[in-house]
Amino acid sequence: MSTRNLLFDIAMTHLYGRARQTLTSIIGVALGVGFFIAMAAMMEGFQGFFTQKIIDVSPHIVMEDEFRERPRQPVSWFFGYEGTAISLQGIKPKEEIRGIKNAERIINTLSQMPGLHISPTLEGQIFYRYGSTDVSSSLKGIEPRKEKKITKLENDIIAGQLDDLLTHSYGVILGSGLSDDLNAKVGDTLTGISVAGIIKKMKVVGIFHTGITELDKNVSYSLLKDVQVLQNRANVINGIRFALDDPDMAEEVSRQIEGQFQYKSVSWQEANEGILSVFVIQDTIRYATTGAILLVACFGIFNIISTVINEKARDIAILKSMGFTEGDIQWIFIFQGVLIGVVGMILGWALGYGLSVALGSIRIKMEAIITTEHLYIVYDVMHYFWGGVACMFAATVAAWLPARKAALLRPVDIVRGASG
């Protein structure tokens, strides 16, 4: 114990002797940890917001009225295998009346599955005309009672009400971006022109705002039966929307459903594959950047300890000649690195927290992947934990390398040099 105190005292004289350089190293470490935390708070805030929104506002799985594989040629049915010598050319793809067949049976079967909520839908393109403005939109026919179990659309309604769809014929709920483009408010009456060529007067009964730009700009909702009329497809649905109690199961369940009914069933992860893979790239850049900052900080630590060791070679020599062990000498210098690491880490935590608060309070209007007026910040203790672990690991290694050299220094070489 008394040895430890002594080693501590010696280590502290080394750091005091190079106070400015020590401070610089500490700041370097603090910046690395601080930026790591702030970037994690910001990026995971954004990613978390996006992912949560996707989970909330869109179904976790959508069954579409198509198949992943092209239907096989009639000849291959007959012979039971493909790649025959006989191939009928010039078979036109039949203009199938699209839609999910046996929808009722599928829904009945799947409603047995626990934790799965189901809502049938018919979705199609529509043009809205209001005044002199034409805007196209994807109109989804829903049943409000079932929609409430599938998505949190209701929470995102900023004007009007979801249930008003039931009390107005050809009522429509517009995305906020769409309503801006049309310059239409709740109560206004639009002209809706479907791809089937049917025209109806449609009354805006609500406006929703999710924050996901693509949804807000493109999507609108009406009653399922109204959309069936508009699209001239009575009793047809072309999609079944599902929600899961556990959204993380979506990929597995979608595969299972598709295996059972053949209809292409897309999980939210698959539907958002593009952006989710961008997140991976973002994370990689984030780790690379903070890693680089931390690496520079480590060079600082390595540098200061190497300098101290060169400067204090005589002290090391006399201590070793007095009977200090290699372990004692190593401890003196590793301790310095660890101390710089600990102080830097604590300052880095404070800096990271401060930056997070500052970033969270900035008001910026942004309309990119998400539409927002401020950054989304998450405060996660794991960011602080991992920032600390990385920092301490790096600081220890940076100190250990020169400390090892100091421990192996032979007093004779130094004493001879100094005494002639």
Partner: protein, 228 residues
Amino acid sequence: MSEVSSVLIETRNLTRILPLEVPVTLVEDVSLSIDAGQFVSITGPSGSGKSSLLYLLGLLDQPSEGQVFIDGQDVTKLSSQDLCRIRLKKLGFVFQFHFLLSEFTILENVRVPMRKLAKWPEKEQIERAEKILEDLGMEDHLHKHPFQLSGGQRQRVAVARAVANEPLVVLADEPTGNLDTKNSDIVRDIFRDLVRTHRTTVVMVTHDLELAAQTDRRVHLVDGRVVS
């Protein structure tokens, strides 16, 4: 080593060859025995291997051949941990350069080996350090730093540190090499005192023949060999 109980340091055919491209012989076939309580000087021309022999006796260097016995124990095959322990408890060093820790006060410098040994409680360590420094006439400088002292004073502090743990042997490599005559005499007196009052063995390298003449025994080296 019980045949003569008062032998403290013994070497047998001690040889140290630096394994360089052209091997350099530092010490060759040195067999010596030094009794407890002797004041021994090692003399010889510059480059004759005086320092090299002292480092071998002080366990700072390992021989290529031969053995070193300290206090009856063959130390040639001990681990570096054990060697550290022996240096801490039984040996004290004084070099031509003082090697004091510049950030520590005089008192703290003398306490360093005591703190490492941890044999006495803190209060006693301080008292002992004060006593040793007082005996060396340094009582007015306890809380000064090395840079505030003269060369002779620093060397006295180095001696105080070397004897702090009551070693059996003090090994000194030209301790007066940087000192004027007055300070040289003071250091010599201190060593003589140590031998007389504490029966500490002192082995001192010097090229000052006059100084060597005043010791109990002289070992003269030429080209790494003992010639008288």
